[in-house]
Amino acid sequence: MFASQIHLKNFRNYRETTVTAPPGLILVVGPNGAGKTNLLEAVHFLALGRSFRTNRDRDLVRLGEDALSVRATVQSACGEQLFALDYGAAGKVAAVNDETIPRLIDYVGTLAVVAFGPDDLALAKGEPAVRRRFLDVWLGQESREYLYTLQRYYAVLRSRNALLARAAPRAEMEPYDHELVAAGATLTFFRAGAASGLAAAAAAAYGELAPEDEDFVVEYDPAVPCDGDEEEIGRAFERKLEEGRGAEERRRQTLVGPHRDDLRLAVKGCDARRFASEGQQRTAALSLRVAQFRLLKKTRGDPPLLLLDDVASELDAGRQRRLADVVAGAEQIFFTATTPPAGIEPDAKIRISEGQIEASG
């Protein structure tokens, strides 16, 4: 699929602007601070209802305004569709072909997107939360059931933590243990099932990006043992909760569950987080994104939109070229850069200065 037209209103530094774009590789150029990343962020926000930079939606609204709107005309095998996401006093309101979707969760991920950014290094270097977010953004686009379960799990978790904080009696905790286990087992089962596909795709991508003969291993590191079916995982989760009850009561928060999951990354058999060079970490992070893109393309039958934000500047010319080959399966790529990257021939250029699209096409 590709976005043939994108319309922004009061998004970050854009007052109101329309971008037309062909399929293919679109180079977004302009000086620092002009709004290149903001354009990609708007597409990400439209697709997933959230930014790739911040959790505060308020920050996305242009200074002095109180509502924003992002719209895009998308061409795919299903024909032309109009996606719209508004954010303002009424929260986020989404519409497809002018029909409002009453609950945001029924809309999120209808349009698939994969974003590569300069902060991706944290996938290999950072805290487990970064890798969990990677899993959630990926799997939430693979399956809506995953998204619902994730939302439910965190809703239960917040309530359960509130009960632990005020040392609520067992009888009050019990329903929350039950719901936490039910949603948590589904999430763990889902992540475990998806992990082998991720491992294979990420290892393949690493091999293509790095000419050196290094192996890259991705393993799911669940907080609850993930052997067996959902029911067995549920029973293991129950046992873990039981064992940790004393510690939970002392620390007054939920200490075990998929909110403590991680992915273990290893380059040449060593923990990538601690022992890999920055170049290896960057390639590892890039490989996870490429894997996400290819797996989504496969399950959804249509390549997601690709957003590459200032990725090239971190890579040497060889890796830049290989990245271009690797993502050649995309139908449309938005690629920001302060200087045009070597060896990459764009199909179109969008020039931006101070929140204005100067030229596109």
Partner: protein
């Protein structure tokens, strides 16, 4: 704001305290009341007072009523051994409108919500246990909303009542009647499939 009448400002302010009423709606309501025909406001004020004075929870089920007992509880033909638990009086009205239910109700006056600091003690749980015992109920149907709060409250009730030997059931979830499969969200559809029923039996 010297240009605005102080009284109008006060009324708008009071109205915004009502659920679902923002500043704009409050202003619209205020101007509506000011322009309303003779007697309308007096009648409304009197009605509000009467409602506040005479309407109170039914001593049996918690439904709102003008007497001591609500219409459902006063009805001798209703099956007192079948109790439907709902969150609010408004939910009772919804179930009652179906005409499918011949038991009695129990209004919790909310759901358990740790984030809002609402525990079982703030709800009518003890009264429920009491009624199940005195009427020797055979079944309690929990009809709270199918969300996290509604589901955990249902689970709490099931555990609470299990020593009493009463059957505790939860209303089914599934597809709206006359709806299209196209319009069902995936989770509702999955649950409808899991809860499928044999035809012709």
């Amino acid at each position: 704001m010297a240009w605005q009448s102080k009284l109008i400002g006060r009324l708008v302010n009071e109205l915004t305290k009502m659920p679902g009423v923002g500043r704009k709606t409050a202003q619209r309501l205020t101007y509506f009341l000011l322009k309303a025909p003779e007697g309308y406001v007096e009648n409304l004020a009197r009605l509000l007072n009467e409602v506040k004075q005479h309407v109170s929870p039914c001593r049996e089920c918690g439904n709102l009523t003008e007497g001591e007992q609500c219409g459902v509880c006063a009805d001798d033909t209703r099956n007192r051994r079948l109790i439907c638990v709902v969150e609010e009086p408004a939910d009772l009205t919804l179930v009652e409108r179906t005409g499918e239910f011949n038991g009695v109700y129990h209004v919790l006056m909310g759901v358990i919500s740790p984030l809002e600091g609402i525990g079982p003690d703030q709800l009518r749980m003890a009264e429920l246990v009491n009624r199940v015992q005195t009427h020797q109920a055979v079944e309690v149907i929990v009809a709270t909303d199918p969300d996290v709060e509604g589901d955990t409250t249902a689970y709490y009730i099931a555990k609470l009542l299990s020593p009493l030997g009463v059957k505790v059931t939860r209303i089914a979830r599934g597809l709206p009647v006359g709806g299209d499969l196209d319009f069902a969200d995936e989770v509702t559809l999955a649950q409808a499939i899991a809860g499928r029923q044999e035809i012709g039996k």
